[in-house]
Structure formats: structure tokens, C-alpha cells
């Protein structure tokens, strides 16, 4: 009698399967990967002025787009697609096999991370080629970028899985989830310069990860001189790290405790 496969190895297998399934849905591939680039082109073309010495709005917006890409791909994507899988009965079928919940979650995390990497490469490519965005030369900034992407994507995945119990049906999921994400994007300094928002909006946004992800991404893609223009007069990367870890723990806790495999 062989041993049953480990949760991690099954999680990696599921990640491969999720990616293969995703690539075969051409509409969602195009939407997920190209939509952020289209937004970058629109905003970058409309607001072409500089907002500080050596800082264009395109640069500011690029940081916001990468951060909100993490929220769109993980939180929004999963909170919409998991209820659909539940409606189909696909989750119930998985529940009847020896595959543990953790493998399913790992598979989703891999899907989110891989599509994020592709999305980021496209955004950076367009940013550099057409909107004068400069790549950071400092190795520390790349390290910050790496942990922000990893932690942001994990946090967003966990929260998306946790939130997937809230929509009653797959069809209604988008109507529940999308407004939350759009409001957070407006409040968190993705479309507007954060410091120009009313302070109640800033305080509200500070509870959620997106504001911190955006600020963290600015610390990577904007010159350090810009840090003084942030609310706290610094990039606050330690605080960003802490906020993301806390949300990651909250997400994992609810994902594990509350996940629903079946409609009723």
C-alpha cells in the first residue's frame, strides 16, 4: 500500500491544473492580463503632467496599478470564481476525494501568483516603453518589490478564498465583490493621489491592505525624495509588512474555518 500524496505535492499539481484551465478561457486571460495595461495607457495618456520633481502621474499610477492588480487577481478573482465552482458542484466532487482543502488553497495561490507575475511584466514593459517609467537600480528596492508581490499575492488569495463564502451564488458574486474593490481602489490612492483625498477616506483606506500595497509599490518605483510627500513623510515599509501579515493571518483563519464546498 502506497502512502497518500502530501498536501503540498497535491497543491502544486492543482496549481498546474488551475493555470492550464485558466489559459483555456481566452476571454478571462485577455481581461485579466490586458485590462490593467489598458487602464495604464488611458490614465498615462490623460494625466501626463508631473506631480513632483522627477515624478510623473504615470509612475504614480503604475505603482497603484500593480498593487490593485494583486487585489483584482487574488481577492476579486477568487471571490467570484469560487462561488461559480461551488454552483457547478465541482467543489463538492473535490470534497469527496482524499485531496485536502490546503491543496486546493495552494493551487489557487499558485494561479494568482503566476498570473500576477505575467501581469506585472506587461505593466512594467508598457510603463518603461511608453510612459517614461524608470526601473529602480537599487537592489534593496527589488527585494522590497519581491516581498510585496509575494506577501500581497498570498494575502489577496487568502482573503479571496475567505470572502468566497459570502456570495450566495456564482451569478451574484460579481455584484457583491466588484463594488468593494472599486471603492477600495478610489480610497487607496490608485486612481488619485492619496494625500489629496479627504482624510476620512485616507483613514478608512488605511484599515485595508490595498492602501499599504500601493504605498509599498510607490517606495519601489518612485524616487526616495518622494517619501516626504506621503502622509507619514516616509514609506513606512515595516508597517506595510505588518499590515499585510495581519490580513494574511485573518484571511487564512477564515478560509480554513469557513470554507464552503457545497451550496447548502
Amino acid at each position: 500500500m502506497n502512502k497518500i500524496p502530501s498536501a503540498l505535492s497535491l497543491g502544486i499539481r492543482r496549481g498546474g491544473l488551475e493555470i492550464r484551465q485558466f489559459l483555456r478561457q481566452r476571454e478571462s486571460v485577455i481581461f485579466t492580463l490586458l485590462f490593467p495595461v489598458i487602464l495604464l495607457v488611458i490614465f498615462g495618456s490623460v494625466f501626463s503632467d508631473t506631480i513632483a520633481p522627477d515624478v510623473t502621474f504615470s509612475q504614480y499610477f503604475l505603482a497603484g496599478m500593480i498593487a490593485s492588480g494583486l487585489v483584482n487577481t487574488g481577492f476579486q478573482g477568487l471571490a467570484i470564481t469560487i462561488p461559480l465552482e461551488r454552483d457547478f458542484g465541482a467543489l463538492k466532487r473535490l470534497r469527496g476525494t482524499p485531496m485536502p482543502a490546503s491543496s486546493y488553497f495552494i493551487g489557487k495561490a499558485i494561479l494568482v501568483f503566476v498570473s500576477m507575475v505575467v501581469q506585472i511584466l506587461m505593466l512594467l514593459g508598457f510603463g518603461v516603453a511608453f510612459f517614461g517609467v524608470a526601473m529602480p537600480s537599487d537592489a534593496n528596492k527589488w527585494i522590497t518589490f519581491a516581498w510585496l508581490t509575494l506577501l500581497g499575492s498570498a494575502c489577496s488569495t487568502a482573503l479571496g478564498i475567505a470572502f468566497s463564502v459570502i456570495p450566495k451564488s456564482g451569478r451574484g458574486a460579481s455584484a457583491v465583490v466588484s463594488p468593494i474593490v472599486i471603492i477600495l481602489q478610489f480610497f487607496s490612492g490608485v486612481f488619485f493621489i492619496f494625500t489629496q483625498l479627504p482624510s476620512w477616506m485616507q483613514q478608512f483606506a488605511s484599515i485595508f491592505p490595498l492602501k499599504w500595497l500601493t504605498q509599498g509599490m510607490r517606495s519601489v518605483f518612485l524616487p526616495d525624495s518622494f517619501a516626504t510627500q506621503e502622509v507619514a513623510k516616509s514609506w513606512e515599509n515595516e508597517r506595510t509588512f505588518a499590515v499585510l501579515v495581519i490580513w494574511l493571518i485573518i484571511g487564512i483563519f477564515f478560509a480554513v474555518r469557513k470554507f464552503k464546498w457545497d451550496r447548502d
Binding site: 500500500m1 502506497n2 502512502k3 497518500i4 500524496p5 497535491l10 499539481r13 491544473l17 492550464r20 484551465q21 483555456r24 478561457q25 461559480l84 465552482e85 457547478f88 458542484g89 465541482a90 463538492k92 466532487r93 470534497r95 469527496g96 476525494t97 482524499p98 485531496m99 485536502p100 457545497d262
Partner: protein
């Protein structure tokens, strides 16, 4: 040891008592069919045994394990069972072989992927996307995913709904083959002929209780029920219920001096018996 052992199982949803004290023993290697009208408590009972639903009372042992439990022991347990649910579907963006191959990776001792595809008769569709399959072909894929783990115990919930008669016969042959390997099977079905063809014993469930458990030929006193003999006498059809149909036919032969016009001798079908048991009459 019995594969399934249930004592005093109870489950309510609010004021609705879906299952009211069910006792059930299914031996290892047995094919057991659970029959009952919609809402009788069939699905609730089976889903409790499969570990999908909680119960309010009673003892349940499935392969020596309480399906209520979680964690690693539950994984070991699910490794030994196969479940074919009533309705499953998915986005359909994978091929038949990709899906079966992937699921085979969940188990410690899976069956050979090609062998399973062959057993459910999907050879020609192995490379097709699931969304391009017909309803009956999807159902066969469901069955393939239920048996890929080489289960000791297989749950089949209305497995042949939507099959054409040919596909149903092929499916029955597959089940007979699994029986040959010693797999225990708990089947729920709406088709009485299916239960009769496959099951060693059938249990009829109604209003959350088991009314009777017997072999298909003995259910509801079927084996001792009177036979109905009908024939044509001139311009009228005649019929008679009798315990001795052979004697009656022989008498009629003398009367007609040979061939009896439009003779039929029938015993109540499993369906007739079943419908009487659940309080419905035929037609």
C-alpha cells in the same frame, strides 16, 4: 466486517424530519440499492454516509470509520471510497484524460487511467474537452472519477440518469465487473429495472424510514404473489389472478384445444411492488 453499519440514524432540517431512525447493514462486496421517492430521505442518508452532511443522532460506521471525523484520518478514509454524485459539472476546459489523470494523483493506489477510460467507454473521447461531451458522456466521466481511486466502497447516486438504453447496459456490465473485484456498492436509483439487474438487496425508504429490505425477487412478497393470466375468449379479454398459473394454462389449453389466443402470464414487476409499497399505484 460490514462495509456500512448504521443504527438509529436521525436528521432533521428545522421541522422536517428527513431521516427518522434508519438501521442498515451492508456487507463487504455487496451491491445494495436504496430506492425511494424524492424527498424520502435517500439523499440525506447517503450524504451522511459520504461525510457531506452532519447527523442529529445514531451511529454510523463506513469501512470502520465515522464519516463525521476530519483531518488526516478522513483523508485515509476518502482514499478508500469513491463517490459519484448526482449532478456535477465544471467549466469543462480540460480534456477527459487530463481530468482523470489529475484525479488519479489524489489517491495512493489509483487504477490505470487508460483502463478506466476504456471501462466507461470513453476511449474515443479521451482527448475531447469536457464541455464538448454529451450529457451521457459526462455522466460516464463522473463514474470514471468515482472509480479511479480503486475504491473498496463506491457510492453511486442515480448513475445512469440521461443514459440511452445501450449506455445503460454497458454501465451495468461495468458494475458487474466491479462486483467481480469485490467492490462494495451503495446505489440509489429511480430505475427499478436497474436495481433488479444489479442489486443483491434493495432497501425501500419512505418518509425517512426503511420500509423493507429484501432481495429484488422477494421484495414485498413478490416471489409468492399471485400471477395474472390473461387471454382472449371470442371478442372479450379475460383475466384471472391465481396461485397456480400452470394449472390454469393447462385447463385453457384443453378448452381451446391447443393455442390459447393472446395468452400472457405475468407476475408483479419490481416496479409494481415498489409503487404499492410507497402508496402509489401504477398509472
Amino acid at each position: 466486517m460490514n462495509a456500512i453499519e448504521v443504527n438509529g440514524l436521525r436528521k432533521s432540517y428545522g421541522d422536517v424530519h428527513a431521516v427518522q431512525g434508519i438501521d442498515l447493514s451492508i456487507a463487504s462486496g455487496e451491491i445494495f440499492a436504496l430506492l425511494g421517492p424524492n424527498g424520502a430521505g435517500k439523499t440525506t442518508t447517503v450524504e451522511i454516509l459520504e461525510g457531506f452532511r452532519s447527523r442529529d443522532g445514531g451511529d454510523v460506521s463506513v469501512l470502520g470509520f465515522d464519516p463525521r471525523e476530519e483531518g488526516h484520518a478522513a483523508r485515509e478514509w476518502r482514499n478508500r471510497i469513491g463517490i459519484v454524485l448526482q449532478s456535477t459539472s465544471d467549466s469543462g476546459d480540460l480534456t477527459v484524460i487530463e481530468t482523470i489523470e489529475h484525479f488519479s494523483g489524489y489517491y495512493s493506489n489509483p487504477r490505470n487511467v487508460c483502463e478506466v477510460i476504456n471501462a466507461v467507454g470513453l476511449d474515443e473521447k479521451a482527448g475531447s474537452l469536457i464541455r464538448k461531451l454529451s450529457g451521457g458522456q459526462r455522466r460516464r466521466l463522473d463514474v470514471a472519477l468515482g472509480i479511479i481511486g480503486n475504491p473498496e466502497l463506491l457510492f453511486l447516486d442515480e448513475p445512469t440518469t440521461g443514459f440511452d438504453p445501450e449506455a445503460r447496459r454497458a454501465f451495468w456490465a461495468l458494475i458487474q465487473q466491479l462486483r467481480g473485484n469485490g467492490t462494495t456498492i451503495l446505489l440509489t436509483t429511480h430505475y427499478l429495472d436497474e436495481a433488479e439487474a444489479l442489486a443483491d438487496r434493495v432497501g425501500v425508504i419512505n418518509n425517512g424510514q426503511i420500509i423493507e429490505i429484501a432481495t429484488p425477487t422477494e421484495l414485498g412478497g413478490r416471489s409468492t404473489a399471485q400471477a395474472l393470466v390473461t387471454w382472449r375468449d371470442g371478442s372479450t379479454m379475460k383475466s384471472e389472478n391465481t396461485n397456480n398459473p400452470t394449472a390454469l394454462v393447462s385447463k385453457l389449453m384443453t378448452k381451446f384445444n391447443g393455442e390459447i389466443p393472446e395468452l400472457t402470464v405475468t407476475r408483479p414487476s419490481l416496479e409494481d411492488i415498489y409503487l404499492t409499497m410507497i402508496g402509489l399505484t401504477h398509472e
